[in-house]
Every structure is written in C-alpha cells, then in structure tokens.
C-alpha cells in the first residue's frame, strides 16, 4: 500500500523553453501540412485557374493591368488559405480535442497557435511564389528584384489580415460543421469584393466598397508592391487599412477564441 509521504520525493521535471516547444510543434504541424497534399494542390490550383482566366479572356483588361490581375490571384489564394483552410483546421482539431491534449503539456499556449499560423504563412508564401512563376510563364509578367521581395513582404501582411479573419471566425463559431458552411458563405463576398476594387463594371459605389474591403485593400497593396515605382498615397492607405483589419480581427479572434468545442 502507500507511505504517508506527500508527493515531492521524485526529482523535479523541468518545463522546456518556449523556443524548444515552438520547434517541436512546428515540426509536427509542418508534417501535417505536407501530408495534406490535396489541400496544398487546391490552395495553388484555384489562383492558377483564376490567373489563366484573367489572362486568357478577351476583356481581361477590365480587371486592370497585368500586375493587378496577378495580385487578384494571389489575393484569392491568401483568402482561401486564411479564411477557410486555417479556420477549418482549427475547428476540426478543437472538436477532436487535439488542442486540449497539447494544452496539458508544458508548451506555452501561444506556441501552439503560433506554430499553426507559421505553417499557414509558409503555405501562403509558397502559393504566391507558384502564382508569380505561373504569371511569368502565362502572361509574361516579370517584376524587378525589389518588386518580388516587396510582393512577398506584402503577402506576409495579407497573411496577417486573412489569418486573423480565420481566427475570428474560428473564435465566434465553435462547431466545425457550422464553420465549414459559414466559412464558404464569408468567402464569396471577400473574394467578390476583392475582384471589383479596381473596376467600375458594377458601378463606382461597388468599386469604392470593394477597394477598401479586406481583399480590395490587400490586392491594392500587392499591386503597389509588385511595381514599387507606382507606390502611391493610395498604396500607403491600403497598407494602413490592412494593418487595421489585422488588428481588429486578431483582437476579436483572441478575445472570443475557445480551446474547446463545448
């Protein structure tokens, strides 16, 4: 049976550093991402199909200059990965109790979420590079070295905008099934608005709303980043709008996020 001794006699285990936790989690989350090949292909396939359409159709100039059209394709990929891909993965793992299992380990909770976000950001960067290569191959769109670097930096900011929207959606909706349906519902206006921010085919009011929607602001920012010589006051405004969207949605996502589905 037992000795009446409080449980303090074993050598004390030490909690590992946050950095080590992050490294271990990143390795696991990256393995999950790499294994999900269908998701990787789909995240690049959609922007590539749009890219082909925007360069192949006769009236494609309605959507602006070639760089803007490439920006729209990258925007589509970032929106899909951030709003649907990320929030769905979070909701599914939350429903299955994966987060709770991780939270009882000595890993700080911020490392659990940051590791997932970092993997999504990497996926967005890969998608953007694939689209840029395809844009050169299909539409002959070439950027300066500075343009390529700035574009990838802008993708990082866009990742902030749409991952924070994904986080807010996952925070507000707990059920994975409801989130799946709602995510698709949110995706349509986000993508639709980003398409018409630089075209008045639906009227100037829609154009104005589109331009300052999260997708519209991000595609303006991307278009400016692709051609740094055209960077203007409006590009700065798009940059600030993107920062503001990130702050608001990240705040909501953190405030309302729950680790359990119940």
């Amino acid at each position: 049976m037992t000795d009446d001794v409080p449980a303090t006699v074993r050598p004390r285990a030490i909690a590992i550093s946050s950095w080590t936790s992050l490294k271990v989690l990143l390795r696991a989350d990256a393995a999950v991402q790499m294994r999900n090949k269908r998701s990787i292909v789909l995240s690049s396939a959609l922007p590539l199909i749009q890219l082909y359409a925007l360069f192949a159709v006769k009236r494609s100039t309605l959507f602006g200059d070639p760089r803007l059209r490439v920006a729209l394709c990258i925007t589509l990929g970032v929106i899909t990965l951030g709003v649907l891909g990320y929030s769905m993965a979070v909701a599914r793992d939350r429903e299955h109790g994966v987060f709770q299992r991780l939270r009882v380990t000595p890993a700080p909770t911020w490392t659990i979420m940051c590791s997932r976000l970092a993997v999504q950001v990497a996926a967005m960067l890969v998608m953007a590079i694939v689209v840029l290569v395809a844009a050169y191959a299909i539409g002959g769109v070439a950027l300066s070295l500075g343009g390529y670097v700035l574009t990838l930096v802008a993708v990082l900011l866009g990742a902030g905008v749409f991952l924070s929207i994904g986080q807010a959606v996952a925070g507000l909706i707990r059920s994975a099934d409801t989130l799946n349906a709602t995510g698709r519902f949110i995706l349509l206006p986000l993508i639709g608005l980003s398409l018409f921010g630089h075209s008045d085919v639906l009227g100037t009011t829609v154009e104005y709303i589109s331009r300052w929607s999260p997708g519209g602001a991000f595609s303006s920012l991307l278009a400016g980043a692709m051609n740094p010589s055209t960077w203007s006051g409006e590009t700065w405004a798009a940059f600030l709008a993107s920062l503001a969207y990130t702050a608001v949605f990240a705040g909501a996502g953190i405030r309302w996020f729950r680790w359990t589905a119940r």
Binding site: T2, P6, T8, R12, A13, I16, V24, R92, V104
Partner: protein
C-alpha cells in the same frame, strides 16, 4: 470553480500521496473532470490553491505541467500524424530526447511495435488507451492524472491497463484517476474520494469506507447482501439518474 451561476467544484480539499493510486468517484456531473481540469491547468479555479509537489500550479502552470502526466477522457492526437510522430512530438514537448530505436522500444513496451506508421484513429480502443497512457508518462512524471482511463475497454484490455497503472505506482509515481467502475476503484485504488455536487462526501481506503458506512441506513437500503463499495457510493450519492 463555477460555470456561470453553477458551482462545479466547491471547497475540494484533496491530497494524493507519493506512490499511491487515488480514485475520484462520482456520478455524472459530480465535478470530477472539472476538478481534474483545474489541476491540469485547463480551467481556472475561482479560489484556492493547487500544489504539485512543491510547485504552485496556479502561479507556475508550466512548471507544474512538467510534473504531471495527463490522460484526458476523450483523447485525440493529430489525425494526420503517425503513431511514431505523435510519440516524438509529445516526447519533445516534455523535453525527452528519444532515438529512433528508443522510440520503437517504447512502442514495443506497449505491444504497438508494428503500428508505428499507422494513424491514431486506426488503432483499436485498447491500443489507443495504451498509447495514451504511455505518452502521458513518457517523461516519468511524479503525478499521473487519468480521466476514466478504462472507459469503453473490454475486460482483457482493462486488466492489462490496471497492470500498467499498478506498475507505474510500483515505480514510486502517484496516480489520481477518475472512474465510474466501483470494481476498478476497489481493485486498484489505495484510497478513494466520493464526490457529488462539487463536494467531497468521503475519503478513505475502499475497505475503510465500506466498514464505516456498513450500517448507514441509506447504504443498507440499496445493498444486496454484503455491502460493497458500489452500495456505499449509491447510498451516499443517491439513486436518481444523472445526465
């Protein structure tokens, strides 16, 4: 600890000793899982203190978590990782460095040496529980918290898991487990606490509880022949159904 206006755990005072298996018993909704969740750091108590050894779990949660091994009631691991990757992940989170051969040795120890490349969902219930217990104790923690570890297992798997839990105790570890099985509590627990409506009703060894409550009219009323731990449990917590 409360959820809105509902008090889930109220003034619970428990001590688990070194090298003992302590069972927390109670009907559904009694507050067992909430009490365990507070110790695990998943829920924040409104008041009180939680010490794991000499570590204050409320002010040093990460250090306290390093002293504990936890098996949750409904455990799930990353669906897309293999068993080997899952073990490597959790070993890493507890700072345990395992070589490939050591990893396989651990799996061999729970008879899962051929399942390393499978996904968690592909394992049987018994295999999942064995893996889950192994992962919970991979860092050799002083205290293991097991929430209904044998729920849903067949008798063979349940007995095997009892052996593992008892083996863990023999190595000097403490175990706090919850269970609905009075047979399990009587077979493996050194001491048990009966809990209901968030409060502890009784704490002692199973044999002492039976002796102490043998003549309690509430217990006599529900007993069929010799008084068992289940009779004491039903007598103290009542016969009405809980959801």
């Amino acid at each position: 600890m409360s959820y809105g206006s509902t008090v889930a755990v109220d003034s619970v005072d428990l001590e688990v000793w070194a090298g003992e298996i302590f069972g927390l018993l109670g009907p559904n909704g009694a507050g067992k899982t909430s009490a365990l969740s507070a110790i695990e750091g998943l829920l924040r108590p409104d008041a009180g203190s939680i010490m794991v050894g000499d570590v204050d779990a409320r002010s040093h949660p990460l250090e306290a978590k390093a002293q504990m091994g936890v098996q949750l009631q409904s455990t799930s691991f990353h669906a897309d990782l293999t068993i080997l990757e899952i073990v490597r992940l959790y070993a890493g989170l507890y700072g345990v460095k395992l070589s490939e051969s050591q990893l396989r040795e651990r799996l061999s120890g729970i008879h899962l040496q051929d399942e390393g490349s499978k996904r968690f969902r592909e394992l049987s219930g018994g295999q999942q529980q064995r893996l889950s217990l192994m992962i919970s104790t991979i860092h050799d923690p002083p205290l293991a918290l097991l929430d209904e570890p044998t729920a849903g297992l067949d008798p063979q798997s349940r007995r095997q898991l009892w052996d593992r839990i008892e083996g863990f105790r023999k190595e000097g570890h403490s175990i706090l487990l919850t269970t609905h099985s009075m047979e399990e509590a009587q077979a493996v627990c050194d001491r048990v606490a009966i809990m209901d409506h968030g409060k502890i009703l009784a704490v002692d060894t199973p044999a002492a509880l039976i002796t102490l409550h043998r003549d309690d009219p509430r217990v006599r009323k529900v007993a069929h022949g010799d008084v068992t731990l289940e009779d004491v449990f039903i007598g103290l917590t009542g016969r009405e159904l809980r959801d």
